[in-house]
């Protein structure tokens, strides 16, 4: 036994003959804020739909709270709150009635409605029909609905999509405060690294349906710092020279970099370049941003 709160094994979804989600092994621990990152069309929403039982996997298994999702769907969903893609709402009803329609299904006490409304700060507007709400307010109502059943797992699909910067900040602060205040584990998807970076503890990066990175945010950060850039005359020849000398080096047609290495190794590499008559102009630590890593991993399809 392990204590993954959510785990998929070889999760695959084929749509129109194409594997939109391909062999995904997603793992979340209790208390994580899991950032599920990927460019548009990567398969995030499709994955989340399967996690919630809205669509059937073509292959693979989903375990949530250690239970098989296909077999114990109802028991699992009782402890999951979700917001998929766009917030769902009944426009002709006000916020309280919207929450009440869900509350009647969940069978939680009426007092929860006031509680979640105050968590998302909608108490003042609660008596207006939701069709007059701004997108940010609808989004907050969606999060309130997701929180209504006191879920142990919260699944939020691009909850800041389409919001202005102030709205984004507001939702982000709200989400960051949740694990502390409500004791939930959160899966949050986004195509924006900058957004996830500030709240996630764990990151999964998906592109073209495949998971290409899954680890703690710190591991991702470490990868982001570990390059040394060498400014040199004729870098391509210098790169070949280094490889011939048995050293690790990267040449991407723009710059010559080496992975972070002990001081002596770096010194030896520079000495060998000098010995072979290359002019070394610069040796600098490259503080590659997470964004670079993300672009690198997703093949340039990511965006700010």
């Amino acid at each position: 036994m392990n204590n993954w709160i959510l785990q998929t094994e070889g999760l695959t979804k084929k749509l129109g003959g194409k594997a939109v989600v391909n062999d995904l092994n997603l793992k979340m621990e209790k208390g994580d804020i899991y950032g599920f990152l990927g460019p548009n069309g990567a398969g995030k929403t499709t994955t989340i739909r399967m996690l919630l039982g809205l669509a059937k996997p073509t292959q693979g298994r989903i375990r949530i709270f250690g239970k098989d999702m296909q077999k114990e769907r109802m028991a699992v969903l009782r402890k999951v709150g979700s917001l998929v893609e766009y917030p769902s709402y009944y426009g002709h009803l006000n916020a309280i009635e919207n929450l009440e329609a869900v509350r009647r299904l969940l069978g939680v006490p009426k007092s929860r409605i006031d509680e979640v409304l105050s968590v998302v700060r909608l108490t003042k507007d609660a008596k207006r029909p939701v069709k007059g709400y701004s997108l940010g307010m609808k989004q907050r109502l969606g999060i309130a609905t997701a929180l209504l059943g006191q879920p142990e797992l919260l699944v939020l699909d691009e909850p800041t999509n389409g919001l202005d910067p102030a709205g984004i900040l507001e939702i982000r602060e709200l989400i960051k405060s949740l694990p502390r205040e409500q004791g939930v584990t959160i899966l949050i998807s986004s195509h924006l690294l900058s957004e996830i970076e500030q709240m996630a503890t764990r990151v999964g990066i998906i592109t073209k349906g495949r998971m290409i990175f899954q680890d703690s945010i710190d591991t991702l950060r470490e990868r982001a710092q570990s390059k040394i850039r060498i400014g040199v005359s004729d870098p391509e020849a210098a790169w070949k020279q280094l490889l011939a000398g048995g050293y690790q080096a990267d040449w991407d047609r723009r710059k010559l970099t080496i992975d972070r290495a002990p001081n002596e190794t770096v010194a030896a590499m520079i000495a060998s370049l000098v010995k072979h008559n290359f002019s070394v102009y610069r040796v600098e630590e490259e503080g590659a941003s997470l964004e670079d890593i993300f672009l690198d991993l997703t093949g340039g399809e990511g965006s700010l």
Partner: protein
């Protein structure tokens, strides 16, 4: 199931649906009054049954089947419009429950429509001072029969309305199938097997009409109604439980 019902009730309570339920009985009442005033002397027969058949001709041939489609579209509309399906189905509810409760609500709305129709008929009869005892049995059989004959229509329209997110498309289907009623009703050959005309056949007092299909045995009619109902309900239900949202 009770929870589901109460949740659905909340969504429906504040909707425009209630206005619609009133319209058809009112129009039927108007027709009833006009035709009674027209033929002040009814040759034999009961004025009650005469009024019933006049009102039912309009109500059951057109409005009742059309309203069935409108109700089905409306109980699905607020789910389609605000992304309600994905929220509803990611809650701990079974899809069968969702589907059956939606169906129950269509039938509830139709029942209310029939009660209003009944009230309109009684209102006319009493205010115009129809002679003789009220033929309760015939009237109630007609209203109840009309309601039961709507079962297959409601099942089909619910299937179509859940499948298509458009509001107009299911209604168009319904209109296309309902309009031929005027022709089909007169055909002894086809009418017994055409689901959309059943509400009318069921609501017509038998001894008033003797043309077309109106003499077909109730057993046949109910076999057709029951058969098509089960077929439509089962297909819609199966589709909905597998549908990706």
């Amino acid at each position: 199931m009770v929870r589901m019902f109460r949740s659905e009730w909340l969504k429906l309570r504040k909707s425009v649906i209630w206005l619609l339920a009133v319209v058809s009985p009112l129009l039927a009442a108007l027709v009833g009054i006009l035709s009674i005033l027209d033929d002040a002397e009814i040759i034999g027969g009961s004025p009650w049954l005469y009024a019933l058949s006049m009102m039912a001709a309009l109500h059951a041939m057109l409005f009742l089947p059309l309203l069935t489609g409108v109700y089905a579209a409306l109980v699905c509309r607020y789910e389609h419009a605000g992304g309600g399906w994905k929220q509803l189905l990611s809650l701990p509810v079974s899809r069968s429950q969702v589907y059956l409760v939606k169906f129950a609500f269509i039938m509830l709305l139709l029942a209310i429509t029939q009660l209003l129709f009944l009230a309109a008929l009684l209102g006319i009869g009493l205010s115009l001072g129809f002679p003789g005892p009220i033929p309760w049995k015939e009237i109630i059989v007609a209203c109840l029969g009309g309601w039961i004959a709507c079962l297959p229509l409601a099942a089909l329209q619910l299937a179509v309305s859940t499948a298509w997110s458009s509001f107009a498309a299911p209604l168009a289907v319904n209109v296309i199938f309902t309009l031929p009623n005027m022709l089909v009703a007169n055909s002894a050959e086809y009418a017994p097997y055409y689901p959309w005309v059943q509400p009318m056949l069921a609501m017509m007092p038998r001894d008033e009409m003797s043309f077309g299909a109106f003499n077909v045995s109730p057993v046949t009619l109910f076999a057709v109604i029951g058969g098509s109902f089960l077929l439509f309900l089962a297909s819609g239900w199966t589709y909905f439980s597998k549908k990706a949202v």
